[in-house]
Every structure is written in structure tokens, then in C-alpha cells.
């Protein structure tokens, strides 16, 4: 995380990189009211089932509470938040909700439908209100999206709306925009609005899911005092905030009594600020905090300290080893294959992650539906003999190799291990690691292609579609830029991704994404290393820690 991401960073989880920053904004989390029932496949346009308040709606246990460790958030407004991810997850309900297996259900939306994947009709459930009692209407979404997208506001999550027709008008390359509303958004009636995209995108319903906080609704009251809203958001979710956040004070959320979805199981959630994740861990040992994200440096001790109170959640994150293909030494695919096959992912996993991670065998994490098993094939399998042969066949290696990663995120051991494996198994004598001062420096030298060797690369998807990970890494500008993506972005892969995006039918989309992965396996522009897990430890008080896409579902947590 935060790496600024704090948010999540704090949560730290990332095995790779979790810095507050990095994570911030990365993973996906909870807030869903319908998780249990309806599991139609991830399909655009399914109008889902029953929803709110079905099955095990048991209501809120009065007086119950738990404490979560977090880091000081900057902005709480979901359109701007980078580090208030968890709090916003608890205070808002997204339009759709995606479970860890990629199943999409409707949450605040009654249905999300399209015939051509370009124009989408979103129908809201009726009877929903914001925490101030104001009804949630189609206008609430349109207003919020326009505000988030409006360039001069410079809200951090603006990019989540970039596909909507009219986004460019609100974000001209020079000068001030002349309009304040996107032409692609139309309110049909109180509970219906349409969204026109600038290109077909069958993955749109997944983009409306929980982690895309830039797509949350805002009440009219928010616009009268945006600064106040930033300190005390008024959401449509299971928990509400009753007092504005003050610097470094706990954020206390209480169950919203008129919530139209499945009510929160626990009445009060306290988000307690920690600067240092290892202090939070120590405080969890003493029983003073109930839910704490575990950073990579603590995984091994967490196994013994917490036993079955260590939760290892499948996450939409994947760690790669980036390759500086601007350096001609890396242009031969056999060299790239050799590096990949020289690294024993299993032994690194045991040594560094206590065996809790999963070595990657494809180019997207398994929580993204349709991710092929073993797309990478033998190239991601440890075989030092073959690796050496490949390198020799490619003409051997000249010079040194320096592996670069951002410092301060607990990644040192991992990258040292990569370096050792490459040195030993490929016989390259001079393999070193270099940590940059922080993420900002890393981002700059990566963007400027000033890196002379393999480098840190990871992605935590905000919505679990192969689209998210593949676009971020292999389409120029596809993730809004290229901070740590693949330097080599084959045209063939880009074409296949575009074809996949255009499908309304998820099965067809998946076929094309899988074809793109097959091409990636042939060319190996970047090396898949690990599927990430987000890990949490809890106090004995927590009796259930349900999660979705790696992050806890705050409203579903029960306590004793």
C-alpha cells in the first residue's frame, strides 16, 4: 500500500508491497448485502435475485462491537479516497457485488443490463436511503459520477469513470472544461439511469462492484458542503458515521438502522489508527484490537502466534517480475524463459510466506473468473537445468544484473531470494538487488525506463475481471498509466483484450482473455511469480471473518 495506499497498505497485506500506499486502493472489499444467495455467473445483464435482506438476515446484535486497525486516512469521500478504503467499504453499498469466486450479484442495483455492451441501463432497488434519510435515486449516482469525473475537482478516483462518454469533455487536455456533466449519463426516472460507454465493455457490471469507490452515490446534502462530506461521508451502506473525523482520532461507525440491505451483524465498528503495522500486530497479540492486516514480514510469526485466527484470503492480486525489455539482453524470449525457470517459487513461498502464497501459473489471479490454470506452462515451472540450457542457447549472459524494487515495503527478502536463485541457477555471477528510497522514486525510474534489470511489478485488481489485470499490464494507458506494468505490450495481446472487452457474453469474453494469455505465455514479456493473499489476524472475540476478494466484509463480521 498507500504504495500510498494506506489503506490497504496498512492492511498490509500485500505480500508484495504492501505499503500503505501501494495497497491503497488496491484490493477489493466487502460491503455486500446479498452475498449468500443468488449466484448467477458473472454475467452482465443478469438481473439478480432477491437481495436485500434475504436468507440469513438476522439483524444487528445490540451493543456488539469490534476494533479494526487502520492508518490515518486522508480523504474519506469515496470519490477522492486513496487510503480510506475500508471505512468507505463499510459505509457504502456498491451497485453490484462480487464474491471471491467471481460471482456477481446485484447489491444496490436491481439490474444492470445491456444488449450491445455499450449502453447500459442500471435500475436501482427502491426504498433505499442515505444515512441522512435522503432517498437514493438515479440522480444521486449521476451527480456523484459527474463530480468525481470533473477534472478541476482532481478527485483521485476520477479514472474509474474514464470509459463513460463525455469524460473527456470534463477532462480536456488543456484549459478548463466547458461542461460539468458527462453526456453519457442520462436519468430515466427515480430508479433508472443509462450509461453510455465510449467503447463496448462487457465487464462493466463487474466495474460497478465494491472496490470501485469512485462509482458510489452521493446525496444532495454532500454538495452543499463538500469539506464536511469529506470528513463525514453520508453513505448508503450498512454503517454510518455519526461524527466528523478528526486527525488521528478513531473512526467509529454504527449500524444504520434504516439500511435497506442485510443489516450489519455487529453494531459498532471502530477503526483505530496505527502508524506502524507491526505495532498493530503487537497490540493484537495483547488483545487490544480485533482485526489486523498482516504484512509480509509477520506471516511466519502469525502462523504460530495466532494459529487458526490467521485468515488467509484469496485476493485479486498478482506479483510479477518485470523485465527491462528496452535492454537488448532481454529481447530474446529464451533469456526471459531462463530467468523464469531459474526461480524456485515453491521454496521462496515456504521461506518467505510460510507457504501461504500460491506460485503463479498464469497472468491473472485465480479470483478473476475464467483465469486459465497453468497458462504459463513449463515457463513458470522450476527447472534449473532447462533454464541454463535456454540461456546458453540464447548466447549466454554478459555483464551484471541488478534487480530493482521499492524500499520500505518489506520486500527485501523476496527480491534477495530472486537474486540468489538467478545467480545460482543461471550462473550469472554478479546479480544484485537495489531498493529505491520509496515508491515515488521507483515509479519515476520505472516510467522513465531507467531500470537496468528485472524489477518489482504487481497488481491488485479493483474488480475481479481478467480485463483489469491484463489491461493494466499490457495495454498502453490501459490502467491509466504504467507505473509497474509490462514493458513489452504485444499488439496481438491488445487486440485480443479489445475483442474480449466487446463481448456481452462472459463465456465468450473469457475465451478471448484466455487466448491473450496463451500469446503472453509464448512471448513471456513479464514473469508471473505469485498469486497474492490478503492476510488478517483476529482476537478471540471475532467469531466469523467473512471476506470477499481478499478483504473482510465488515457488515458480516460477528463477535462473541
Amino acid at each position: 500500500m498507500n504504495l500510498k495506499t494506506r489503506t490497504r497498505m496498512a492492511r498490509a497485506v500485500l505480500g508484495a508491497a504492501v505499503a500503505t500506499t501501494l495497497l491503497a486502493g488496491c484490493a477489493v472489499g466487502g460491503a455486500t448485502d446479498t452475498s449468500s444467495s443468488s449466484s448467477t455467473a458473472a454475467v452482465a445483464g443478469t438481473s439478480a435475485s432477491s437481495a436485500a435482506g434475504s436468507a440469513e438476515a438476522t439483524g444487528t446484535v445490540a451493543g456488539s462491537s469490534y476494533i479494526v486497525s487502520t492508518t490515518e486516512p486522508g480523504d474519506l469521500n469515496p470519490g477522492k479516497q486513496i487510503t480510506a478504503y475500508d471505512q468507505d467499504m463499510a459505509m457504502y453499498t456498491s451497485l453490484t457485488s462480487v464474491a471471491t469466486d467471481g460471482t456477481v450479484t446485484m447489491a444496490a442495483a436491481e439490474s444492470v443490463e445491456s444488449d450491445d455492451a455499450t449502453t447500459w441501463t442500471i435500475t436501482l432497488r427502491s426504498g433505499w436511503t442515505f444515512h441522512n434519510g435522503e432517498p437514493v435515486t438515479a440522480q444521486s449516482y449521476v451527480d456523484a459520477w459527474n463530480a468525481t469525473a470533473y477534472g478541476p475537482n482532481a478527485w483521485a478516483n476520477s479514472g474509474q469513470l474514464a470509459e463513460i462518454v463525455g469524460y473527456d469533455d470534463l477532462n480536456p487536455e488543456t484549459g478548463e472544461p466547458t461542461v460539468k456533466e458527462m453526456s453519457g449519463l442520462k436519468v430515466v426516472n427515480d430508479t433508472t439511469f443509462t450509461v453510455q460507454l465510449s467503447a463496448p465493455d462487457g465487464q462493466f457490471p463487474l466495474q460497478l462492484s465494491q472496490a470501485m469507490t469512485g462509482l458510489f452515490p452521493m446525496p444532495k446534502a454532500a454538495f452543499t458542503d463538500l469539506d464536511a462530506y469529506n470528513k463525514q461521508p453520508i453513505g448508503n451502506g450498512p454503517y454510518m458515521m455519526t461524527t466528523p473525523h478528526e486527525e488521528n482520532q478513531d473512526i467509529v461507525l454504527t449500524a444504520y438502522p434504516d439500511y435497506a440491505g442485510t443489516p450489519a451483524k455487529t453494531e459498532t465498528v471502530t477503526f483505530k489508527m496505527y502508524t506502524d503495522t507491526s505495532t498493530a500486530y503487537t497490540d493484537a497479540l495483547a488483545g487490544n484490537v480485533d482485526v489486523v492486516g498482516v504484512g509480509p514480514e509477520k506471516i511466519v510469526s502469525a502462523v504460530t502466534d495466532f494459529g487458526d485466527r490467521l485468515y488467509v484470503n484469496e485476493a485479486p492480486g498478482i506479483a510479477f517480475l518485470g523485465l527491462p525489455t528496452w535492454d537488448p539482453r532481454y529481447s530474446d524470449v529464451r533469456v526471459r524463459q531462463a530467468i523464469s525457470m531459474a526461480i524456485d517459487r515453491d521454496s521462496i513461498n515456504e521461506a518467505i510466506y510460510a507457504g501461504k502464497y500460491t506460485p503463479a501459473t498464469s497472468f491473472t489471479p485465480p479470483t478473476e473468473p475464467g483465469t486459465p490454470e497453468n497458462a504459463c506452462g513449463e515457463w513458470c515451472t522450476y527447472d534449473p537445468t532447462k533454464a541454463k540450457e535456454l540461456l546458453d542457447a540464447a548466447g549466454g549472459w554478459t555483464g551484471s544484473m541488478e534487480i530493482t524494487y521499492p524500499g520500505g515495503f518489506g520486500l527485501d527478502e523476496l527480491y534477495k531470494a530472486y537474486a540468489n536463485q538467478i545467480r545460482r541457477n543461471l550462473g550469472i555471477e554478479d546479480v544484485t538487488t537495489k531498493a529505491t528510497a520509496d515508491f515515488a522514486e521507483f515509479a519515476q525510474i520505472r516510467t522513465d525506463a531507467q531500470i537496468g534489470g528485472p524489477y518489482f511489478s504487481r497488481w491488485g485488481a479493483l474488480y475481479p475481471s481478467q480485463q483489469n489485470t491484463l489491461k493494466a499490464f499490457f495495454v498502453p494507458g490501459g490502467g491509466g498509466g504504467c507505473t509497474n506494468c509490462s514493458a513489452l505490450q504485444p499488439q496481438e495481446v491488445q487486440d485480443l483484450i479489445a475483442q474480449a472487452d466487446g463481448q456481452v457474453d462472459q463465456d465468450k469474453a473469457i475465451e478471448f482473455y484466455q487466448q491473450a494469455q496463451a500469446v503472453l505465455a509464448e512471448q513471456l514479456p513479464i514473469i508471473p511469480m505469485f498469486y497474492e493473499k490478503y492476510m488478517f489476524v483476529t482476537s478471540e472475540k471475532i467469531t466469523a471473518l467473512p471476506s470477499s476478494q481478499g478483504s473482510p466484509v465488515w457488515a458480516g463480521i460477528t463477535v462473541s
Binding site: 500500500m1 498507500n2 504504495l3 500510498k4 495506499t5 494506506r6 497498505m9 508491497a17 505499503a19 501501494l22 495497497l23 491503497a24 488496491c26 492508518t71 490515518e72 486522508g74 480523504d75 477522492k80 486513496i82 477534472g151 478541476p152 482532481a154 478527485w155 483521485a156 476520477s158 479514472g159 477532462n171 480536456p172 487536455e173 478528526e246 486527525e247 488521528n248 482520532q249 502508524t275 506502524d276 505495532t279 498493530a280 503487537t282 497490540d283 497479540l285 495483547a286 487490544n288 520500505g408 529505491t436 528510497a437 520509496d438 515508491f439 515515488a440 522514486e441 521507483f442 515509479a443 519515476q444 525510474i445 497488481w459 479493483l462 490502467g479 491509466g480 498509466g481 504504467c482 507505473t483
Partner: protein, 308 residues
């Protein structure tokens, strides 16, 4: 005397401008765009980056950025961080914790340090003296985070005597352990300084005369030795208070105390330049003011200092 004070204040201003410029230049010389790094590995849209860069004048030359900032400081405005929050407001809520922590540490340092120094000075060469000498060497050679983390685990987690982290339980319980960790270094210095002064005093003619007059030990030590030996110790202690206020970064981080040091700690990690500069500047000011007061106070006590 007025001239001396004026000159001292003028020096203070020059040092202030020099030091803050260096801090400012260092922070803004850091590699990497602070705005682009706001969101970590998730890039911000180009228009957002451009808008924020313009809003915070990040494309201006260093000198004009610094000038804008400096004139702001003289208007009492330390600027805002990159999310638009006022740096002085962010600091305001944190001063009380830091001040309480530093004062607690300071009292521990002065009382225990001076006490140990007095005893070992009076018993020079004895077992207690050796024990104190050895103890202070050992303790001041252990890195502060080791002391802090170890004591946190033992006293907080394993034995449960004190809270592990945070300030919820209030003063003194929540502050004692962090303050003790913070006081460790100053304590060693104070005790050695005190010991030296006491030894000097005890050997001096006037003390010998007092003994010869048959005064009680309590009176000789309590009134005469302590008063004279205490002056250098108090001078040191006053300046050390400035260090303590600024030096709490590691301790506040480890014990999760919501103070100024913790703010600086996370600001550096998050590349929040304006916060780093703001906090450092406040600390520089405090330190400069304390040293100026000490100098002025000393010059009042000893007119020779004024004359140089």
C-alpha cells in the same frame, strides 16, 4: 543587554531561513513526483495529476516555491498537504501528545539522571558508581527501537503491566513506558554530566571549607554541591527538551502515540513533502527558541558570555 538579545534573535532568523531552505530543497529534490505517487501503483489520471500540480505550484522553480512557502509561514500558514488538509491543523491535534510525552521523558531524565549522577559522584570509585557508569554505557549503546520493542513485548504483551500502544489510558499509565524509552539517552548524559560536576564541586575549596565548618552532609550536598553542580546539568537539560520534542519519531511510531513525531514518520514514508517541511520547521523553531532562551538566560547569569 538589549543589543545582545536583538543580535541573538537576528541570528535565529538567519539560521531559521537557512535550515528551512535546506529542508525544503532536500524534500523537493527527492526523486519521484509526489502527486503521481499519491495513489501508489495505481496511476492517477493525467488531468488529475496536472490539476494537483498546478494547485500546489509544483512546477514552479524551487526558489519561488520556497518564497511562497516562507511568506506563508510569516503569515502563520504552513501550507497544506497534497489532499488539501492544513499542515498546521494536522499538527495542532498532535502537539499535546508530544508535549506530554516529552515532558514526562524530561522529568524522568532529569530526576533519575541527576539522582544517579549525584550518588555516583559522591561515591566516586565505589560499587554504585561503577554500576551506574557501566549501566549508562550499556543502555545508551542499544538502539532505541530495540529498547522500545523489547520493553513493549515484555511489559505490555507478556506481563500486561502497561498498555502496548496508544494513549487511550491517559497519563501517566500510557506514557510511562514510551517516555522511559525516550529518556534513556538523555538520562545517561545527565547522569554523567551530574557526576562530573559533583566530583568537581566536592573537590573544590569551598566544599572542603564547609565540611571543615562541620556542616551536615545533607546541608553540604543538598544546598551547596547540588546548587553549583546543577547549573551545567540544567543548561543541558533545557536544550535536551528541544531534542525530546523532536526526537520522539521512533518512539511515537512504535508505541502508536498520535504525536508530532508520528506525523513526521508517516509523512516521510508517504512522501508528503509539505507535512515533512512543516513539521521539521516547527521543530527547528522550537529548538532555536529554546537554545536562544538558554543563551539569554546564561548571559543574564554570567555577564562574561555577553561580551564576546
Amino acid at each position: 543587554m538589549t543589543r545582545f538579545v536583538l543580535r541573538r534573535l537576528l541570528e535565529l532568523l538567519v539560521v531559521f531561513i537557512g535550515v528551512t531552505f535546506v529542508i525544503y530543497a532536500l524534500v523537493f529534490a527527492l526523486k519521484g513526483d509526489p502527486i503521481a505517487s499519491l495513489a501508489g501503483d495505481r496511476p492517477l489520471p493525467a488531468t488529475v495529476v496536472a490539476t494537483l500540480r498546478a494547485r500546489y505550484h509544483l512546477d514552479d522553480p524551487l526558489i519561488s516555491q520556497y518564497w511562497r512557502w516562507l511568506t506563508g509561514v510569516f503569515r502563520g500558514d504552513l501550507g497544506t498537504d497534497f489532499t488539501g488538509r492544513s499542515v498546521s491543523e494536522r499538527m495542532a491535534s498532535r502537539w499535546p501528545t508530544t508535549i506530554v510525552l516529552a515532558l514526562t521523558a524530561w522529568v524522568l531524565e532529569v530526576v533519575i539522571g541527576a539522582g544517579l549522577g549525584l550518588i555516583s559522584g559522591l561515591r566516586q570509585g565505589g560499587t554504585i558508581d561503577r554500576a551506574v557508569l557501566l549501566g549508562t554505557i550499556v543502555i545508551s549503546s542499544i538502539p532505541i527501537f530495540v529498547v522500545a520493542v523489547t520493553s513493549q513485548l515484555l511489559l505490555g504483551v507478556n506481563w500486561g503491566w502497561v498498555p502496548v500502544a496508544g494513549t487511550q489510558e491517559g497519563w501517566p499509565v500510557a506514557f510511562l513506558l514510551p517516555a522511559a524509552c525516550l529518556a534513556v539517552f538523555g538520562l545517561a548524559a545527565v547522569s554523567r554530566l551530574m557526576r562530573g560536576s559533583v566530583i568537581d564541586s566536592v573537590r573544590s575549596d569551598y566544599v572542603r571549607t564547609l565540611w571543615a565548618k562541620g556542616l551536615s552532609e545533607r546541608r553540604v550536598v543538598g544546598v551547596h554541591v547540588l546548587r553549583n553542580a546543577g547549573i551545567p546539568v540544567l543548561t543541558f537539560a533545557a536544550i535536551d527538551l528541544g531534542y525530546l520534542l523532536g526526537g520522539a519519531i521512533i518512539v511515537e511510531g512504535i508505541f502508536n502515540m498520535p504525536g508530532i513525531g508520528q506525523l513526521l514518520f508517516s509523512a516521510i514514508r508517504n512522501h508528503e513533502g509539505p507535512v515533512v517541511v512543516g513539521v521539521s520547521t516547527a521543530l527547528v523553531i522550537i529548538f532555536l527558541v529554546i537554545s536562544a532562551l538558554v543563551d539569554i538566560a546564561n548571559s543574564l547569569l554570567d555577564p562574561r558570555i555577553r561580551r564576546d
